[in-house]
Symmetry: C2
Subunit: 202 residues, 2 copies
Amino acid sequence: MAAPLLFYFDFISPYGYFASLRIEELAASHGRAVDWRPMLLGVSVMKVMGLKPLLDTPLKGDYIRRDVLRHARRDGIALGRDLAAPVGNPLPAARAFWWVKKQRPELAGALAHALYHAFWGEGRDLSTPQALATVALPAGLAPAELAAAAASEEAAQLLREAVAASLEAGIFGSPTIVVDGEPFWGADRLQDVDAWLRCGGW
Amino acid sequence: MAAPLLFYFDFISPYGYFASLRIEELAASHGRAVDWRPMLLGVSVMKVMGLKPLLDTPLKGDYIRRDVLRHARRDGIALGRDLAAPVGNPLPAARAFWWVKKQRPELAGALAHALYHAFWGEGRDLSTPQALATVALPAGLAPAELAAAAASEEAAQLLREAVAASLEAGIFGSPTIVVDGEPFWGADRLQDVDAWLRCGGW
């Protein structure tokens, strides 16, 4: 089987959520799997790039709120979050994810969907390890176990390494899909990813 | 005839160039005209939003250079500019454009294409009023006249007013296409513009 598509995303990114709902079907149509790789926009965008959070940027923030709602309407995606509310803390979800991916990699994709759905579809607060225990989890994962993982130093270290690796790979935005070394940034680039897989590049 | 599509762009924006090559055909297929509105990313992005120029942003700059070349290859667009070179000064072209739009509005579209082609297709320097006189201009425009317009206080004032109006309208990126009040930012959103025109929104 050919290499998986690398799917870099931040749980607080609505465009990452939109793309997460379509990436597996797209990958499977080309005989590929998805390698889920949460990163932190707070590190790449704010610390490394020196930019502001998207929704706090004058002019752009208003546009993005409008565009996210329009995208959701177009694709029939229910959004449970108020886009004017504080953006939330992705650390517990991202830490728990990387711990699960290491311990039980076969559950990683289902967990990414569960966490994304809880945050964006249901509008749940996931800003603490305890809050993760309220998420409807894939079979094989216990709520208390996930909460403990999110609070662990091991998970924190795994996330630090993952974020460093994502920066090393030049990843700065969510979602970014890497196809055989070729990066595509943005939920509106899935068609390009599809074409690239079909043509083997151009 | 229904209202024209408002096409906001900066002459230094490669994505604006890409979209400029397709926007008239798209508009015409829905019985619309195009209202060309050059603005200045240097004002919207840098002064108002407080961001850096795209190509100077760590991580993102490298991606954008790669993406621009990929987009050009995909669509068979020849680029005469080195993306690593300084980005250039869009003021003379934008000033001359607004002067011509006021004096001879019927030439505005042809002039936008001529200037964009000179800058991105041929890689010409357009950073001074004199340089504009080297551009292959639409019939009815004399090179010396365009150079004089670009250097005039009247043109500078027209551009200042246009930039202020674009900010007032919430425009921050190039290209931005506004369809009956609905803004779409990015050359990769032309499909959404097409769908919005077909459906009357969603």
